[in-house]
């Protein structure tokens, strides 16, 4: 019975299997690119082999989703996560598992002896399926961790890219870089309105120099922001309107609803200062 032989082999020949596996791994990319120390690698391999051996003793080796295999699965998920952060690629991580095949097959061959070819091929097949499944599990966990990192970076980027700056007493500026989608608009509105309350500002200048295109959707989002500002008793000036944008707005028939627009931030600031009754004199 394949399970019995595999479990027994793992139990009895684990030392040798581990030694040969480590030899394989040392030749691999992990060490050569010096991202993992020899000690750390042998610790990981040792732990995996122990967990695998223990779980194989009392669990069905054809189904790794069962609760008995949880320690092995968790270990691999943790390993993947660490490797994502260390900058490994997914195939390097999967190779960790697959390079166990040769040492394991050789051990199985020794265990079975040269007698029953059918028995040997059955157990080899079972072993390869088991390791394949774990290899795939590792890759899946790797992908999931990567996506988590990307998601987190996206959130950070979103928050960092919409700073609200105080230009003068009662005048705030919001320089927008990049395109304006609904998620961004939400964040923009929240942070801008919050700042208005905190600083009791009357005028917000939204500078769109860094917005590549203004289509009807972007215009809609901008107007939403303007309306929200108005509801809170503040005025809005849009600055940084480039010639192409002016053309697009007219061609698309976008109604700016009386929002004041200026070509650059300097003009917008001058107007805002005038509206708040501030004037400068040259000495």
């Amino acid at each position: 019975m394949p399970k019995g032989i595999l479990a027994a082999t793992l139990q009895q020949r684990s030392q040798k299997i581990l030694a040969q596996w480590l030899k394989q791994l040392e030749h691999g990319a992990a060490i050569s690119k010096a991202r993992l120390s020899s000690a750390e690698l042998s610790r990981q391999a040792g732990e995996f082999l122990t967990l695998l051996t223990d779980a194989a003793q009392s669990n069905d080796i054809t189904d790794i989703s069962g609760p008995g295999w949880l320690p092995v699965r968790s270990f691999l998920e943790d390993l993947s996560r660490k490797r994502v952060l260390a900058g490994f690629s997914s195939d390097e991580t999967a190779t960790f598992i697959f390079s166990l095949k040769r040492p394991l097959f050789e051990a199985l061959q020794e265990e079975c002896g040269s007698g029953d070819i059918a028995k040997l091929s059955n157990v080899l097949w079972a072993a390869t399926e088991l390791l394949d499944k774990f290899g795939l599990h590792t890759v899946k966990a790797f992908q999931a961790s990567r996506e988590e990192v990307i998601g987190r970076q996206q959130t950070d980027l979103l928050e960092l890219s919409t700073p609200v700056v105080k230009l003068w007493d009662g005048i705030l500026a919001l320089p927008m870089i990049g395109t304006l989608d609904s998620a961004r608009t939400q964040i923009v509105m929240e942070s801008l309105l919050q700042k208005i309350v905190e600083t009791e500002s009357q005028i917000a200048i939204i500078d769109i120099t860094g917005v590549p295109t203004v289509d009807t959707l972007v215009a809609q989002h901008l107007l939403k922001t303007v309306t929200a500002l108005r509801l809170m008793g503040a005025d809005c000036i849009i600055s940084g309107v480039r010639p192409q944008i002016a053309q697009t707005i007219v061609h698309l028939g976008v109604d700016l609803q009386g929002v004041t627009t200026k070509v650059n931030l300097a003009d917008a600031l001058a107007l805002a200062l005038k509206r708040t009754g501030v004037s400068f004199t040259k000495q």
Binding site: M189, E190, I196, A228, L229, R230, L231
Partner: protein, 121 residues
């Protein structure tokens, strides 16, 4: 407040209460000869289309009675909700707080020649 009336909305309004408010307010405008109404919604954390319409209605009624309405103290979350609901409350003047609202009303009374241009947005 002299010629101004201050209305503070603190609870969620239902139909009956809203109608009562409109009634009380219009009567008070007439009785006191008020020239301005400040509606303070700084205590409202949530506003729906009903309240939005009610505010617009009060504003229109006050205008007919020759008083200006200024809505003050809208919280950011409320503003965003109204915008998402598509309620921009046109024709209702707004201010950040009661102090600013009073300034706005006083100034509008001073410019009462061009009064309709000033507060209309």
């Amino acid at each position: 407040m002299g010629e101004f009336l201050l209305v503070t909305i603190q609870v969620d309004m239902q139909d009956q209460l809203a109608l009562r408010l409109q009634d009380d307010l219009t009567r008070a405008i007439e009785k006191k000869g008020a020239k301005g109404v400040l509606i303070d919604i700084s205590a409202l954390e949530m506003v729906d289309s009903f309240i939005g319409r009610m505010i617009a209605d009060i504003s229109a009624m006050a205008r007919i009675l020759s008083a200006k309405t200024v809505l003050v103290g809208m919280q950011p979350a409320v503003a965003i909700t109204l915008v998402e609901l598509g309620l921009s409350l046109p024709g209702v003047a707004t201010a950040l707080n009661v102090g600013r609202g009073m300034e706005l009303l006083r100034e509008s009374l001073r410019n009462s020649d061009s009064d309709d241009n000033f507060l209309e947005r």
